[in-house]
Each structure stands twice: as structure tokens, then as C-alpha cells.
Symmetry: C2
Subunit: 145 residues, 2 copies
DNA sequence: ACTTTATTGAGAATGAATCTCAAAATCACC
DNA sequence: GGTGATTTTGAGATTCATTCTCAATAAAGT
């Protein structure tokens, strides 16, 4: 947790961006969340803590967090852009339910190993995986019958 | 080309959907396109042929084509949903070079098989895969040294 | 043809993301 | 710890892809 904040501060400095309150509040909210989130989630989360930050600011700040490498954009869900942690978090394979929006995470290492091999065969050096699939989760599959 | 049309007709019938002119015109436009397209592309393409179909109808029809398995939703581009052919087109794993933007396609079946197993273990029914990785291609990797 | 039922078109509505600009905050400098 | 140049913020307006509405139209079984 400490390290992430330090990295973020360094990143802002290196870009000559100011360490403002809203930027710190948003970062904290992001690190309280331990899996996926979208801008609306952050907005509600911050509001609950009585710290007010406008949606516009969150929309402006999230791309900075992405650029800093602490989070990354994931597959969209319910027509919203969603984000996930990258720093200190295992990579996951995501199954997104097209009916209810639920995200199911699954093991990743096996898949990554296989993909690493394929990439190596092409001389490609992977820095970030994007692995997922859309479909129906257990419940929604059942209800469709 | 013939087969795809036949499959589409069968699909519509199996769903008790009518074989209307707009639905056929849209299907033809889709099959004239041989790689990626979005709703706007289709709209312009159809208009050029003096066949008029409203945007609303295209928006309603594209999901049918997806459901029928002839096309699938791909990664969005310029904040528009884009689609790509699946029928008669191999699935690919995309390696995207973050330096030069090149897309390298790689085999897919092995990976898909593995992912199918993982999904099954979670009771998840996959309808569409999104598999890729970002990194450096052979050339760019070399040039960075 | 006729009738029922699904589909279409045109424009209105929605909603996530972006933009605008005056007011407020940061920070380098004194 | 104040001052001023420069960024950043908030609030609401705006944009634009997508979805919805509903009267008019078309499909297809009889």
C-alpha cells in the first residue's frame, strides 16, 4: 500500500503534475478497492467518506493511474469502462456475464504459460495480458431455460 | 458466401424471426466487408447502394448476427463497438506491439481448449473470447537494445 | 387477400465520457 | 508564511454512440 502511493507520487512529479487533494483521494479510493471498479464506483465510494470529488476529476485522474502503470483498463462491462489493479496483483482471466454483468475470475498461470510459449515462438516480449471471455454465468445460464 | 447466408436464414427461422428486407440488406453489407466494421460503416455502405435502412435497424440487427455466430464483437475502437467476422475466419490470439502498433496473430485452439476447461469448472458458458497481450514485437525489442 | 403479429423508421431519450471556464488550489520563489 | 504564475477543480453543458418509443408497414400462415 505504501509503495503504491510512493510510485504514484513519483509518477506525478515526473510529469510535473501537482499533488492535489482530489488526486490523492482518488488514489486512496482506488487502493481500497481490491478488484474491479469503474468511475461510478469510485464516485460513490468517495462520497460515502464525505470527501467530495467531482465525476469530471475522476474521469481526468483515472487515465493518469493507468499511465502510471498501477491500474489498467479491462474489458468494458454494462457499457462502462472498467479498471483493475496491476501493481502487486496477480493477473486474472475474466469471464464476463453478458446477462448480469458479473465478473468471474479464474486461474491464469496455465494460460499465461501457454501464451508465453506462443509469443516466444514469434519473438514477442509480453508486458501485459488481456485475457477474457464473454458468455453466461452459471445462474443466468440456468435462468435462460 | 452462400453458406453464410443460408446459416443466417436458418438462424432467423429457428428463432421465429422474419426474413425482412432490411435484415437481408444488412447481412449482405456485412459480408461485403472482409474484416472489421462498426455500425456507422454499415450505415454508410448501405446508403451508397441506394438501399435505405435506418441506424436503429442496424443496431437491432447486428446483435442477431452476433448471436448467430457469424460475427463477434471485437475490442472497441474510437469509442465505437466494432465487429469482426468469425464464420470461415479462424480465431486468433492478438499480440499488439506497444511500440509500433503492429498486430501479430497467433494460433488459438490450444489456448481456447484450456480456457474452455477453466470456464466449465465455473459453470460458465463462453460465447466469445477476447485474448491478447501487449508488448514488444521482434523488431522493436531488438531496436530497444 | 385477410389478419395477426413482428418489424421498421424517425426522432426522442439515455447515459457515459468529455469539454468549458470561472474559481480555487498548488508550489516555487522570495 | 505570503505572493503570484500556473494547474487543477467543480458544476454544468455538451457530445455522441446506443437504445427506446410508437405509429405505420411488412411478413407469412390461413
Amino acid at each position: 500500500m505504501k509503495k503504491e502511493k510512493e510510485l504514484y507520487r513519483k509518477f506525478l512529479r515526473s510529469k510535473n503534475l501537482k499533488l492535489t487533494k482530489p488526486r490523492l483521494i482518488i488514489m486512496e479510493a482506488v487502493f481500497e478497492n481490491h478488484d474491479h471498479f469503474n468511475v461510478d464506483d469510485l464516485y460513490e465510494q468517495i462520497k460515502k467518506k464525505h470527501k467530495n470529488v467531482s465525476r469530471a476529476t475522476i474521469y481526468r485522474t483515472v487515465p493518469l493511474l493507468v499511465e502510471s502503470g498501477l491500474i489498467k483498463q479491462s474489458l468494458r462491462c454494462e457499457s462502462k469502462d472498467i479498471y483493475e489493479h496491476t501493481y502487486g496483483h496477480e493477473n486474472h482471466l475474466h469471464f464476463i456475464c453478458i446477462n448480469c454483468g458479473k465478473i468471474i475470475e479464474s486461474g491464469f498461470n496455465e494460460v499465461a504459460n501457454l501464451i508465453d510459449k506462443l509469443a516466444e515462438a514469434k519473438g514477442f516480449k509480453i508486458s501485459e495480458y488481456n485475457l477474457g471471455a464473454r458468455g453466461l454465468c452459471k445462474n443466468c445460464k440456468k435462468n435462460k431455460e
